[in-house]
Amino acid sequence: MDQPLSHAGRHLLDRRQFLQHGGTGLGGIALAALLAEEGRTAAPAAASAAAADGPIRPIIDPSAPYAPRPPHFQPKAKNVLLIFCSGAISHVDTFDYKPELLKRHDMPMPVDGEKLITFQGEQGNLIKPQWEFRPRGESGTMTSDLLPHLGELADEMCFIHSMTAKSNTHGPAENQMATGFTLDGFPSVGAWVTYALGSECRDLPAFVAIPDPRGVPQVGPRQWQSAFLPAVFQGTPMSADRPIPNLARPDTITADADRASRDFLAMLNEQHLAEHPRDSDLAARIAAYELAAKMQLSAAEITDLSGETAATLALYGADDTANTTKARFAQNCILARRLIEKGVRFVQLFNGAYAMGEGVGNWDGHKTLVDQYSVHGPILDQPVAGLLRDLKDRGLLADTLVAFVTEFGRMPTFQKGASGRDHNPSGFTVWLAGAGVKRAFHYGATDEFGYKAVENISTIYDLHATILHLLGLQHTRLTYYNNGLERRLTDVHGHVIEPILA
């Protein structure tokens, strides 16, 4: 919808703006015509939404910012589950099978001319995968013994083996996977999606981020920030054992006292509203308090896993008493399914945390990869496999797109003098599953060692464009005006990866 008067229309949720959307649209037009006659406020070129390739800015009703909004075209997926492995999980030890590494184990990697200096320094020899690869599923997809449960579901997965990142440093690279930009200060994918589409679920946040039980990823809340998008579209962090902030009524206040207090508040606000007729912003705040009350009930319910069957707990490994970190992560995986079930638009599930140190709590295996991955593998494997299987069994994969990503890959070599792999943004693997993507499909490839993407080289822009496409959104047209620019998730880049679409 275009705003003939000015950029005012671009500022979502601007209180004065709402009158125009909520009331008569005639007003803006009449004034615009008057001003245009003066020759001073001719509509700027940017008001070109009517054009076929112009920006499409969703119109947000401030009293119901999560209300579902139509996509640009018929979507394949309604929800997204983004699983982020923090610290850069090694593709050559998991999903990208490179027999050449077995042949050339402990031999130097041939490199054209340049001396290979990666993030931490010089490289040693090529090193074979540290876990054996076997064919899995009917497709016979080769995956490693590090993640056997996930391997069993290889037929569900649509692999992109040729992913590339712009930075080989965790912070900027995490930023890029989360927001499209290596710099701080850009909205996350989930924020863009909820900005565009709202949510099917009215009494839960539209975008939920579930941090790993061990802590938050490297860039922390920037993974789910709204940046210059309205704050309402930022992800709400919650996990199975850490509910939404400020959700619970404080222990010191009884339920009766809380109810009486809120009745008093409602009375104050209604009386105030009566003196401010037509002020939709004040009305929206009253509605927000009502929604908050609903959310207190539904969000408390959603994290209560006591109704899950023993079979479900066992499927995810949430009953694993020997590995409590795994059990807690598994509970987060169950929470993710419950949120998807409720229609939450975007769920971002984190595996791995940053603060514990290099590779200790995440996939950053520079020095002692086997030791560290032997801890992280079991925490990730069964719970995420259980989640995927459960989504499938419940029919949720029909509407839900699952994306399994990490910030970059790792080197096929070991670092000089160490038993681990350095950062490698030149080629790595991510996979999708569920709504709208092919099953048991492999797209793109790295070279014979898994060092560089060489076939159908893909970018994070492409991945983001594809996610938006599956949700029925044109990544080139979903924009938000900020500081002189029509901002996009994909900046000025990105192509939908058509071959992987089902």
Binding site: L5, S6, H7, A8, L13, R15, R16, Q17, Q20, G23, G27, A30, L31, L34, L35, P44, A45, A46, P62, G121, N168, T169, P172, L183, D184, G185, Q218, Q225, A227, F228, P230, A231, V232, I244, P245, N246, P250, I253, A260, S261, R262, L265, M267, L268, Q271, E275, R278, D279, L282, R285, Y289, L291, A292, K294, M295, Q296, A355, G357, N483, G484
Partner: protein, 1006 residues
């Protein structure tokens, strides 16, 4: 004159005429004026230029942006400047290049002009380079005309006449506003009531609610100018600067940490925030305000009022990993390019409302700004990096010199004192196995974990040491050695009394306790005295270690009475400050303690040992930061006293010498170090290249520093690639604040308007370009801009104008005829009423604190830190609830951590300081409701609020009245009073207070 085509901008050329340095431009004017007799342009020159130069300098290639095939382009010259100096062939770059001795530089390449051709060119230029404009020339010139240059914002500010001079009583602002309202048949609303007005003014100007007393005073003020007086009172309030600084920090994206991956602390960034507050309070002229922020450090390098202002340039994020840590050159170049982009984007959007950053990868899509222009602006700042720096290098040098002088004198005085003192017992000698009179071995030491005497045998890190397990030393004089750690009690000997009061250490140790320096000691010098040299001794005590001397054994043969332990304790490591701690105890009672670093010099200790004292203990601990470089040592550590044989004169000399040392040490301690702040650190400017598609790995041609050519009326600074950083920034600062700059005064006038109405006259306040909005009231904007400049750029003058206008004072609701007005102008851009507004996040927090009575109004200084800090590769910040007076300061004093935003403030739409925020977004969410209902800070504030009410009055109804006065600046009506009574009856006063904080009326104002 044949024509005036060369002179489309008479103003520009007049300026150039007045500037002798731009002789070239002046001479160019004559191009075409003088007729040639010998050379005929059309016959001899045009074909020559076309055929010999046109391939590269024609319409196809435009090498170096030079075209020699059409007149106006030949006149303009290349990207490096004019190439033809009419009347002077020798001075013309064109001739220089066609005759260049260096084949690589000679034009045309590989196909030099003939002597005859060169001669023709020379004669043509010397004769004035006549070039009559042909039809084709004219066509080319007209085709190139760029309509974007006519955009309103680039045109000079014209002070418009007042629309209604016949209404002299009508405020000038209202003349503009009401004229436009009348055009569409609308009228301004009535003036709001006084309670509404004082609430509006207080939040707008101070960011705080008025006190009930302020309200009563204003509401009952019968003087005709009561309102104007109130405006004056508020403009004069010190809290005015705090409020205005918050707006400016939004567009400077200020924070107290670097951001990015390793989000380290900037300890002294706050000095810039304080500078802003003072500048707004003092009403520093906006031109000076900008000049100092852009170039204060080069305008007055030693005046903190100027230098600290440049904290503006460094206020944004900075990538430590990308700029410093990474070994990868590609990443470093990218990080630096991002850094400069961030800096110039901030500067250009803040001051000029120009989205220069859009031209980083290609020419600006909307505005007449080329990619070269972008890199020209980058080059203005290529001599700036960000870092901790002195507020006054001159004062810094004076401080250092004075400290060095005093230190030298202290050292000399101490040596003299040692010579006077005579037969003393040296503790270092005892550590070396001796008796205190020189029998020990220099360099020998005692193993702190075993007590064994070591001769030589330097040791490193002592593995597996046990803390607080004293063992006896090698001689009876050493009662014990040990590795200390608090807070557990430390037995100072195996049987000895416990010492308490130490902090926890790493319980690690290094090398032995030495008669001399410890292994790998960085320095043995304190205040110019080398304690390892002849005539001095030193007792080396690396953390964590301690030694207890048995005084009975040590003093058994003493030749004096009244023993006193004297020494100079110092730090021998490399860390400038806070390196390690020393502790001295007598009989397990701590008598001296301190934390030392390399910059601290030595501390003289003078500790009497009372009769009957048994143990003297010396301890070195690690200050809680590990034991690297923790090299404490005790210079000339001796016990002496009143010598049994000393003359009275000698004794007096000794006493006098001691006093001298003491007074000089006091003088040194009294020296105040010169403050530092986080700001621009100058370096020789880097050469800036245009980067193809913005890629630092694809540099194209070098670009000299420059400004925006689209602002045609401005004198452009004369800068080139040799200009210093100081010249670049100073010239730029003057360009920005040139009274003829059409953007600078308009942009700030618009921002002030926005702060008073919620929306600017231009509602894209940081984009005045073609992509931005047109002003709703163009004449008013220009009138305000002109007022600003003509009133010495006084911002308070503009605030005063706006606040005293009827447009500002009118009602925001209950407006007669509102439905009709809404139908015509739903956005209220014509201002038929005032806009109601919600408080921003900071104002909500400040209002809560103010209402509860907790607000701590202390101004200035380091920010309050409502988080726990954990040192790490990437530091960890954990938010805590602000529940103590030091954390109850105004939110402008919040220590802002980029990586860890305040959850409470963020939920209330406080922006992320990674972004430049010209307009605060406002959202309404259930999470906000939950935060205001249940957040720990709010709950505790509700309790404090109820305590305030209880302490003020015992009567329930009076409490309700006072609460409404404090929260809403009004009395409750009957219904509200009844409901409040019932709530308090049913729950308690705190619940009532909690709900007032949640009320719509509390967080909005009309």
């Amino acid at each position: 004159m044949h024509n005036t085509i060369d002179n489309p901008r008479p103003d520009l050329l007049q300026r150039h005429f007045s500037n002798l340095g731009l002789f070239v431009a002046a001479v160019l004017l004559s191009l075409g004026n003088t007729s040639a007799r010998e050379v005929d342009f059309e016959r001899d020159i045009r074909p020559l230029l076309r055929e010999r130069c046109g391939d590269c300098h024609g319409p196809d290639l435009e090498e170096s942006r030079l075209r020699l095939d059409v007149r106006h382009r030949a006149v303009r010259g290349s990207e490096f400047g004019p190439v033809i100096v009419a009347g002077d062939a020798t001075a013309s770059p064109l001739i220089e290049r066609v005759t260049h001795a260096d084949e690589d530089r000679r034009m045309p390449p590989d196909d030099a002009l003939t002597e005859q051709e060169i001669d023709l060119l020379r004669r043509w230029i010397d004769s004035g380079a006549p070039w009559p404009e042909s039809d084709a020339d004219r066509q080319a010139r007209e085709d190139e005309h760029d309509p974007r240059l006519e955009h309103w914002a680039w045109q000079p500010v014209q002070r418009p006449p007042l629309p209604n001079p016949a209404a002299p009583g009508l405020h000038p602002i209202d003349q503009f506003i009401q004229a436009q309202l009348a055009d569409v048949g609308l009228k301004a609303a009535s003036v709001a009531d006084r309670r509404t007005l004082i609430r509006r003014l207080s939040f707008d100007l101070l960011g705080l609610p008025p006190t009930p007393e302020d309200v009563a005073r204003f509401v009952t003020d019968t003087s005709p100018d009561a309102y104007e007086q109130l405006v004056e009172r508020l403009l004069a309030s010190p809290h005015f600067g705090e409020r205005q600084a918050r707006h400016w920090l939004d567009i400077a994206h200020y924070a107290d940490t670097h951001g990015f991956e390793r989000d380290q602390i900037r300890e002294n960034a706050w000095r810039y925030r304080d500078w802003l507050i003072r500048a707004f309070n003092d009403d520093l002229g906006y031109d000076a305000f900008l000049r100092r922020q852009l170039a204060g450090d080069v305008i007055a390098p030693h005046d903190p009022d100027f230098t600290v202002a440049t904290g503006f340039l460094a206020a944004g994020p900075w990538d430590f990993v990308g700029q410093v840590e990474t070994k990868n050159g590609v990443l470093r170049r990218q990080a630096r390019a991002d850094d400069l982009d961030d800096m110039i984007t901030q500067v250009m959007t803040a001051a000029c409302g120009v989205t220069i950053n859009c031209a980083r990868c290609h020419d600006h899509k909307l505005d007449p700004i080329s990619q070269r222009d972008y890199y020209g602006i980058v080059a203005l700042f290529s001599g700036v990096t960000r870092g901790e720096r002195s507020t006054s290098p001159a004062a810094e040098a004076a401080y250092t010199a004075e400290k060095e002088r005093l230190s030298r004198e202290i050292g000399e005085a101490r040596t003299r004192l040692g010579q006077l003192s005579g037969e003393s017992i040296d503790l270092a000698d005892i550590v070396g196995g001796g008796d205190g009179y020189g029998s020990g071995q220099r360099g020998a030491g005692i193993h702190p974990a075993t007590g064994a005497l070591l001769v030589g045998s330097p040791m490193g890190f002592l593995e597996g040491s046990t803390a607080n397990a004293p063992v006896a030393g090698p001689t009876p004089r050493v009662a014990a050695v040990f590795i200390p750690s608090g807070p557990d009690p430390l037995p100072i000997t195996p049987e000895g009394p416990p010492l308490t009061g130490l902090t926890k250490t790493s319980a690690a140790a290094w090398d032995a306790i030495r008669n001399g320096p410890v292994n790998s000691q960085h320095s043995t010098v304190l205040d110019g005295v080398d304690y390892a040299s002849e005539g001095h001794t030193m007792l080396g005590l690396h953390a964590n270690a301690g030694i207890t001397f048995d005084l009975t054994a040590v003093l058994q043969n003493a030749a004096f009475t009244g023993p006193v332990f004297r020494c100079v304790v110092g730090y021998g490591g490399i860390t400038p400050t806070d390196g390690a701690d020393y502790t001295v105890a007598v009989d397990a009672q701590i008598v001296a303690h301190g934390r030392l670093g390399r910059d601290d010099g030595g501390v003289s200790l003078d500790i009497p040992l009372p009769a009957g004292s048994r143990f003297l203990t010396l301890i070195s601990t690690d200050a809680g930061n590990g034991i690297s470089h923790d090299q404490i040592f005790f210079g000339d550590a001796r016990i002496d006293g009143n010598p049994k044989t000393l003359s009275e004169t000698r004794q007096q000399e000794i006493d006098a010498a001691r006093k001298t040392v003491a007074s000089m040490e006091a003088a040194r301690n009294a020296l105040q170090p010169v403050p530092t702040f986080y700001g621009p650190v100058a370096q020789p400017p880097e050469t800036i290249h245009r980067l193809t598609r913005g890629n630092p790995e694809a540099p194209a041609e070098a670009v000299a520093p420059g400004t925006l050519p689209c602002l045609a009326g401005l004198e452009r600074p004369t800068l080139d690639s040799q200009s210093s950083d100081a010249e670049r920034r100073q010239a730029f600062a003057h360009w920005v604040t040139d009274p003829a700059n059409p953007l600078t005064p308009r942009v700030i006038a618009n921002r002030l308007w926005q702060h008073h109405f919620g929306t600017g006259l231009v509602d894209t306040p940081s984009d005045f370009g073609l992509g931005g909005s047109l002003p709703s009231h163009p004449e008013l904007l220009d009138w305000l801009a002109a007022e600003l400049v003509s009133h010495h750029w006084s911002l308070k003058h503009v605030h005063r104008l706006i606040c005293t206008s009827h447009a500002y004072r009118q009602q925001s609701h209950g407006v007669w005829g509102a439905p009709a007005a809404t139908a015509l102008d739903s956005d209220n851009r014509l201002l038929w009423r005032q806009n109601p507004r919600r408080l921003d996040a900071e104002s909500i927090r400040d209002a809560v604190l103010s209402t509860s009575g907790c607000l701590n109004l202390e101004m200035y200084g380091p920010g309050y830190r409502d988080f726990d800090y954990e040192e790490a590769y990437a530091p960890v910040y954990t938010s805590i609830t602000a529940d103590a007076p030091p954390l109850w300061r105004r939110t402008i004093y919040r220590f802002i951590v980029r990586s860890t935003p305040s959850p409470f403030l963020t939920t209330l739409d406080c922006p992320n300081p990674a972004n430049l925020t010209p307009v605060r977004l406002e959202t309404t969410t259930a999470l906000q409701s939950l935060a205001l209902l249940n957040n720990d800070f709010l709950l505790r504030q509700a309790e404090h609020f109820s305590t305030r009410l209880r302490e003020a009055t015992a009567d329930r109804d009076s409490r309700i009245s006072l609460a409404f006065q404090l929260a809403f600046q009004r009395e409750p009506d009957n219904a509200e009073r009844t409901a409040a009574r019932e709530l308090i009856q049913e729950t308690d006063l705190t619940q009532f207070c909690r709900m007032l904080f949640n009320a719509n009326e509390f967080i909005t104002f009309d």
